[in-house]
Symmetry: D2
Subunit: 341 residues, 4 copies
């Protein structure tokens, strides 16, 4: 029997509405390279959604690509980006940022979230031309550990970064899940005010592929289309990205899908709590890290796929469960039954 | 009235069969990053098609990306690639190859096609460490000027390159159109024998996006997946590329689509010839470059979109017309009527 | 017998005064990385010499290094530099500029000198994000072919570049020879007004090593010391460069040395002219390209070393002779006697 | 009064013998770019010294340059180098390694020295193409904290690296001080057997500038001269480096100078120990890190220059004192008197 996977949030294709819209518009002739009418309308819709009519919006294929494009575009050769040690750019992008020539300065974080104090310490020790010049702060929301930033936390970082002339960049590969978390009090327009650049992840929230990079500050994306082209990131049929983001944002499908992912995660989390299991990391979005006896893990593995994340001792492990827009409730129920049995 | 476009071969979406297959497989859970069963089967199918069971095959999103990945992967830092002055990497990729650190050494070509003589002259003048070390030859088939390589021409280049330890790389963004040209006598398996690496263009021949890079020589792609990831080219939902190439190659759809594009171009070319118009560049594939009186061009522009390519004198211009898998014969007929009227 | 070399202008060590100053200051304790008092004074002296008290001046070890540092510092990733096809960065730097990620756009030049017309043609054909964005013009003075720019020529380029927002960069590896040419009407302070950045070559004019990069416009060198360090170009004992430039410019030694090199070249040129030999390229500075019968060349080669540059026909070749600050007049006389014999 | 500096080992110029040799050979005509007879003889001498007649030896201007050249030359784009968190490439080179595209993976070390265990942990966590591929281990000897590797420690690392196909690279900016340390039991020829590539630092041990990179394994430096040229590291007057290394190694001057530096450090260390002061890091070479009461530090600062390194508490600080080949014993004695007073 094929196992049900909770390994990640990109195991399925796209939300059916997206495929319908691709089909419907398929044979229209459109301009290439993102100059099509769908990409245009999608950008306007996003500018409206974030309440920044002059924001520079660019669609790109994936998260690693978005990260290297933004960072490579905004930094001078000797400038560096500060990241949590657990940040995606620090761990799981095969040195993509370094390959653009920039150092990623790593700092300890709290449940995956950067603090002003950690950033400040980097500034305090990087004071002359013998060291890289920290010029950007990279954060993820939701983080790689499933946590989400509150408005207070983000504001504190934002104020500090502006004071110290650091650009603040939010990786939003899982932004939908962050903004629909029970712990969230941020809106799209808050983001556009508090960070300099962020991206709205489509790949992990219902699109076939695609992230929408938002340069909130006017002018920050000057020349960015050249950079996109140079890095092989300007799709000939840019409509593919435009149609998808238009579909995701025309009727708030984006947040609905993310809400579903979180709801499925909460249902599982509640079941673990009910059974008295603790969490290695507190559940806040669509990633769960319960601490389970190894016997329970083996039982679950018979029918379900997921990563074993951490082994604190001989008898117990933390696993990672990821839900998505496509997670079917009946599979969640089957999983919960398996916990209870 | 919306004009009919002959500007390029990526104005429409995908061949409907591709979208059907995406829909059909959409909700299956599959492994990410190209490890899905569709990508796997597509690779095997291509290995079979080129009669190289050990070929290394990797799917990527677009042509510029494929070019920079292949060249950046295979060259040492101080090595350079030789290209026709009209080569896509030389002109229309915003310095993507230079951005990986490599010089593109430009040479004159014959109708867009490289000659052994031109390559030899580069080797003769690049003899020590004060100049880059030429290590690769880049050709396009079909070329940027619509011409195609014959088996004799490609064999001559191949023999020379192997003698001189140059890698031979064929950009196949329009490979379908080349292999179905009336002037072609090459097969997929000839390519795999004669060049070291090539790619099979999907974007311009029926796919939503996607190129299949083929490393014909075993081992040449060692570590290439690391490089794909580092350059932001490894799609989380790699199935998107796998499903498309599987569809294109399961029933020879790929060559059928290219054949249609060429047939439409030939029909237009025949009409020009019948009317006595000359060609700036001889028609060989799905790109046509007729020389027309400016008055005729203006008349055509009322209903059709295309690029004016070259202005040899005050009264005449060469235009570029591109047909594709999606070009409807009725639009071709309308265009021809306009020539005749 | 050891042959006398006219192969280049870096066959000897340093002018003896320089070595004396290095000896005299050798055991003083000085700050590192160019923060020593000699570098400081040398910078002030150069600022005075060019009549730009706010110019940013940085010493570096060699010409290729200076070129890649300046270009890499001033260009954004997708920006390109325009160079004569014969430019040093285009030919003899092993792709150093491309290795910083930037394309060198090549144009035809007149005796090695760039024209406004050639630059304009590049701008006219580079109009969107599918091509690199030309942002800098690179010229050499003296050029690689021994020619020098007049004030009128440089002014024309300068005006055009400012109109079109191109940075103008002059490679001055042989600036001394240019400024002391009979054909020159430019001064150091003219340069500082007409170009955005240039360097004053020491290696080929009396120093052990060293070029003084001059950013004429204030602020253009912001962050440049970080870039120097990152590229391995910030010498721990920066005094080595400071002492040398101080010595070269304290008593106009720099121009005296260059004047000597030119005088020696003129003497040889006059001898060729007297004997009725033509020049492949008109003699203007310390590089001569006489056209000689091959028999004469063979006779000269018995006692002298030089490059054979070009072979226009079976009987005649152009050779390259280079004189320097260190060329002894008795060797020049011996060479002339050999022509006459 | 000018203070006596113990800030670093590059405050003075060159050992007088070196300047004498530069003067003596100054006006000889020599081939450029390291093809001069002095560089040639220096290479042969070093090959003999390390008992590796086929070793590839290349001279370069400084330590950061040597590091980026070696690492950039030997790694594929997606490969990374492992370094102690305190390694020079990790801290004080302004991201020079990352600027060649490579990630530096940081690990904890013991007094600046890498352990097999730390390297092993990196390998255990870097297992697929979503992370960089560790391919080289970087160590410094002496380390940035003044410690030195024993033969046993280096052998253990070497055996492990060869087993796991990691290249082992030793930064020898302070190699002289390491090899003449009381704690050392390694010879030059041991190094050549145990590491794949290392460099012999000249800048910090008597040269004006210069490091000798040694590729111990034949073939490892294939193409390296192209890379040197491309990175602006091939000096036109390469004789400047050749003459210096010839002088340093003809009569064992290199080790004599380093021995002097260590002897001066030991004399100071003995004085601190006699007075009962502890060390923040154990003294092993020419860098000392005594822990002193702040009042003592202030007294010393009246006449001497040095860095305050660390402030463990309110009353005490660790300072860094560096001695060199040029440290005069009378200054050491003055310093010691100041401690005792």
């Amino acid at each position: 029997m094929h196992k049900i996977s909770f390994k990640n949030d990109y195991s399925e294709g796209a939300h059916p509405l997206i495929l319908q819209q691709l089909l419907r518009t398929n044979l229209e002739q459109q301009a290439g390279y993102g100059n099509d009418s769908y990409s245009q309308r999608a950008k306007e819709l996003l500018q409206e959604k974030i309440a920044m009519p002059a924001a520079g919006i660019h669609f790109t294929a994936g998260g690693t690509q978005a990260n290297l494009l933004v960072i490579g575009h905004l930094l001078k050769p000797y400038e560096a980006v500060i990241s949590a040690r657990t940040g995606h750019i620090a761990v799981h992008e095969t040195g993509a940022i370094e390959a653009t020539g920039h150092k990623v300065v790593l700092v300890d974080a709290v449940l995956g979230k950067l603090t002003v104090q950690a950033v400040k310490e980097v500034l305090d020790t990087h004071t002359d031309e013998h060291m890289v010049k920290p010029a950007m702060v990279y954060i993820s929301n939701a983080t790689e550990l499933g946590s989400v930033y509150t408005k207070a936390e983000l504001t504190e970082l934002s104020v500090f970064c502006r004071e110290r002339k650091l650009q603040l960049f939010m990786d939003g590969a899982r932004l939908g899940s962050a903004l629909t978390s029970r712990f969230n009090d941020l809106t799209f327009s808050d983001l556009a005010k508090l960070v300099d650049v962020f991206y709205i992840g489509g790949t992990k929230n219902g699109a076939l592929l695609g992230e929408a990079i938002v340069f909130a500050k006017q002018g920050l994306d000057e020349g960015f289309r050249y950079y996109l082209k140079q890095k092989g990131a300007l799709l000939a049929k840019g409509r593919l990205l435009g149609v998808q983001f238009l579909t995701l944002f025309e009727h708030d499908l984006y947040l609905e899908l993310a809400h579903h992912a979180n709801a499925m995660a909460e249902k599982i989390a509640a079941a673990f709590e009910e059974k008295g299991y603790a969490f290695f990391l507190p559940p806040q979005s669509n990633q769960l890290f319960p601490l389970l006896p190894n016997a329970m893990i083996e039982k679950l593995q018979e029918r379900f796929d997921f990563y074993v994340w951490h082994k604190p001792d001989q008898h117990t492990s933390a696993i990672r469960l990821v839900t998505s827009w496509a997670t079917e409730e009946e599979n969640v129920d089957a999983f919960i039954r398996c916990i209870h049995s």
